[in-house]
């Protein structure tokens, strides 16, 4: 095995030998990412309610199911309806603090069981949560961003926000509000630049997932089939008061 110095040395030698095909620079990045992110947020307030309509349209095109409610108090009844439709008994969710609501009282009153993710945990907690997420039929999460251009939900992992809540159950439900709306990939780029420019102490989890509709494949004779590994259904609940 080569060391880093040897490996890069060889590449440097090749790079120096080659003039390059044409003058080129990477895409220009925001100089002050935090300010650029603020500017994006301001742009988005002007795009209301057009951006939400666009999200709805695109989300439907990728087979997402859209719901809109007034306040967080209305969310449990939407989840109950989905559970009834799916004949589901088990629900798992992000930690209530991360989700912005404790679903337990209202779901348990309906005879549904809920396992909320612990904020921190050791190996045992991980194994326990995995088992619960694999057994649950519905996974409830927030969404850090909702990208209108493609109907995409963007979720960041972190304490109390496990990756598998939106992955193992057959139905994924994501809750978000107006401030989460973005319209273009370019804006997502600005926001991600700003997040990564924050000090390490502000760092969250290791993963950012862009989720655009249910899991799908066309690997057998190009026949579109849903839910090959991830969820078969994805719901988005838009909450006006958020």
């Amino acid at each position: 095995m080569a060391t880093r110095a040897e490996f890069l040395g060889r590449i440097r030698a090749e790079v120096r030998r080659a003039p390059g095909l044409f003058p080129a620079t990477p895409a220009p990045r925001p100089e002050r990412p935090a300010e650029a992110a603020q500017a994006v947020r301001r742009q988005m307030t002007d795009r209301w309610p057009g951006a939400l309509e666009r999200f709805q349209e695109e989300f439907a095109l990728v087979s997402g199911v859209f719901h809109r409610v007034g306040t967080m108090e209305d969310v449990p009844s939407v989840i109950r309806d989905i559970a009834r439709q799916k004949d589901a008994r088990g629900v798992t969710s992000w930690d209530p603090g991360q989700l912005g609501i404790d679903l337990r009282p209202s779901l348990e009153a309906e005879g549904l069981s809920l396992v909320a993710a612990p904020v921190h945990g050791d190996n045992d907690a991980r194994a326990r949560y995995r088992e619960a997420a694999a057994a649950a039929q519905i996974g409830v999460t927030g969404a850090d961003f909702a990208l209108a251009e493609t109907g995409t939900l963007i979720l960041m992992s972190g304490p109390g926000r496990p990756r598998t809540t939106s992955l193992l159950p057959e139905t994924h439900v994501a809750i978000f509000g107006k401030s989460r709306l973005l319209e273009t990939l370019e804006q997502v780029g600005v926001i991600l630049e700003a997040l990564h420019a924050e000090p390490e102490s502000a760092r969250r989890g290791a993963v950012v997932n862009f989720i655009t509709g249910p899991s799908r494949t066309a690997d057998i004779e190009l026949t579109l089939t849903r839910g090959v590994h991830g969820p078969k259904e994805v719901h988005a609940i838009f909450v006006d008061s958020l």
Partner: protein, 468 residues
């Protein structure tokens, strides 16, 4: 592909593909569908053309400072608690993974689709070492069960019918499954779910790696990339050094054009950005993250005629439009990467000798360049590759002499006039139905698979003189 298969010459492999009617049907169906979907996707994306230019410029700019960006990527991955390995060859990459397997007592590995691991034949190496690799992309899973190789970069099992898949699943998974894609997909879901939950290690490739943040980017539709990076205790990502890009801003341009080029989707279902192992406070994610940065023949092309092939995103669009690929499919090429770009990548990874015949498996029509999201000039490089084969004396002697003579004749007017006259006389016995067929001697191989137009009764310059 096994050495056994490669011992048959390309012309025979191609011939067999042409006689396989079910393959022919599948190829036409799939490639035609992909072409249509791609076209529609770009028609409704006005900024697409600019994004393609930008993406091309980003790839070129990255190559101009490749050592710098790789260094930055490695620093960031290590800062996040990941391990970086530098593999000059495919064997070194395999060895590194096997070493990690031994040290961490790994018995089973789940893999998400990765051309880089196909390229280094990692599955064979793992099996040989007693580790069980399980492909989890549905298409890859099917061909792994069938013990075959992918026939398309993004749709590895397009050569298989639903009936064949049903038979395969019934035999290997011991059941009775109908030829229904929905049912078969559900069978695979159940089968693979258990594997995800039990595996010790997840192996992925990388569609991109962002130097500035140390992020590995995986694009999938099925969600297997997410499973593989979330559940096992070790995650190993294997990437060619050509996959690095500078920043998140750059990444967005690629996300806008990659899926549109590959499947006509605006964006794939899952784009997963992974930074290192499980971070402090997180419940889930691997204990260990390893990034294998692999050269395997790439670096030496930075200053060669094939430089531009290092821009490739592996979207498969150039395969779908290639008149040769559409006829013979992926297997006939005989190596990991098929289609027009595959010829160049094979030359890069396996050496020029490997593409002695393949270099000619292109009509140079230019369709590939037109659809390529980063506008790679594949036809130019194929011509340069042919010249290189000639210079390196890899092309057959007869072919080299023939072309040298041909060039001489074309550039010497007197010789050209003489040749035209002689050609008209000499060709007489071989012209049938207005075409030259079954030429003798060294020319026989040329006309075995194709007809040629005969030398015209009067050359253009003769007619020109008359007209004046």
């Amino acid at each position: 592909m096994s050495d056994q298969a490669l011992r048959t010459p390309f012309s025979e492999r191609a011939g067999a593909a042409l006689r396989d009617t079910s393959l022919q049907q599948a190829l036409t169906l799939a490639t035609t569908k992909f072409i249509g979907l791609r076209k529609e996707a770009f028609a409704t994306y006005p900024q697409g053309e600019r994004a393609r230019d930008q993406a091309r410029a980003i790839k070129e700019a990255t190559l101009q400072r490749l050592d710098h960006y790789l260094n930055m990527l490695a620093d960031n991955v290590e800062r996040l608690g990941g391990h970086v390995h530098w593999a000059t060859t495919g064997e070194e990459a395999c060895e590194t993974i096997l070493r990690i397997c031994r040290e961490c007592r790994v018995k089973t590995v789940v893999k998400s689709k990765s051309m880089a691991t196909e390229e280094i034949e990692l599955n064979e190496a793992l099996e040989h070492a007693g580790v069980t690799p399980i492909e989890t992309d549905l298409g890859e899973y099917i061909i792994q069960l069938a013990r075959e190789k992918p026939s398309h970069i993004i749709a590895p099992a397009i050569h298989k019918t639903r009936g064949q898949v049903a038979d395969l699943f019934s035999r290997v998974l011991k059941g009775q499954f109908p030829a229904d894609p929905e049912v078969l997909t559900a069978v695979a879901r159940k089968e693979l779910r258990q594997k995800f939950l039990q595996a010790d290690m997840g192996i992925t490739g990388a569609n991109f790696a962002v130097a500035d943040t140390g992020t590995i980017v995986l694009v999938t539709n099925e969600g297997n990339g997410r499973m593989v990076t979330s559940l096992p205790r070790i995650h190993v990502a294997v990437m060619g050094i050509d996959k690095v890009i500078p920043s998140m801003t750059d990444l967005m341009f690629f996300l806008g054009i990659l899926a549109r080029s590959a499947t006509g989707q605006k964006i794939s279902v899952y784009t997963t950005l992974v930074r290192g192992p499980r971070q402090p406070g997180e419940l889930e994610g691997p204990d260990e993250f390893h990034l294998i940065l692999m050269d395997n023949g790439r670096a030496r092309q930075i200053a060669s005629e094939l430089r531009e092939a290092l821009y490739c995103l592996r979207c498969g669009a150039c395969l779908n439009v290639c008149p040769v690929y559409r006829q013979i499919g992926g297997h006939a090429y005989g190596y990991t990467y098929p289609g027009p770009i595959g010829i160049l990548l094979t030359a890069m990874l396996k050496g020029d000798r490997a593409v002695k015949d393949l270099a000619h498996a292109s009509s140079l029509c230019g369709a590939c360049q037109e659809v390529c999201p980063v506008r790679i000039d594949i036809p130019r490089m194929l011509i340069e590759l042919r010249q290189r084969l000639d210079r390196e004396r890899i092309a057959p002697l007869a072919e080299r002499v023939l072309f040298k003579t041909f060039a001489q004749v074309l550039t010497t007017p007197a010789l050209f006039r003489l040749a035209a006259t002689l050609g008209r006389l000499a060709q007489r016995p071989f012209v049938r139905g207005g075409r030259l067929q079954n030429l003798p001697l060294v020319f026989a191989r040329w006309t075995k698979g194709r007809d040629l137009p005969p030398v015209a009764a009067r050359t253009f310059s003769e007619r020109w003189r008359e007209l004046r």
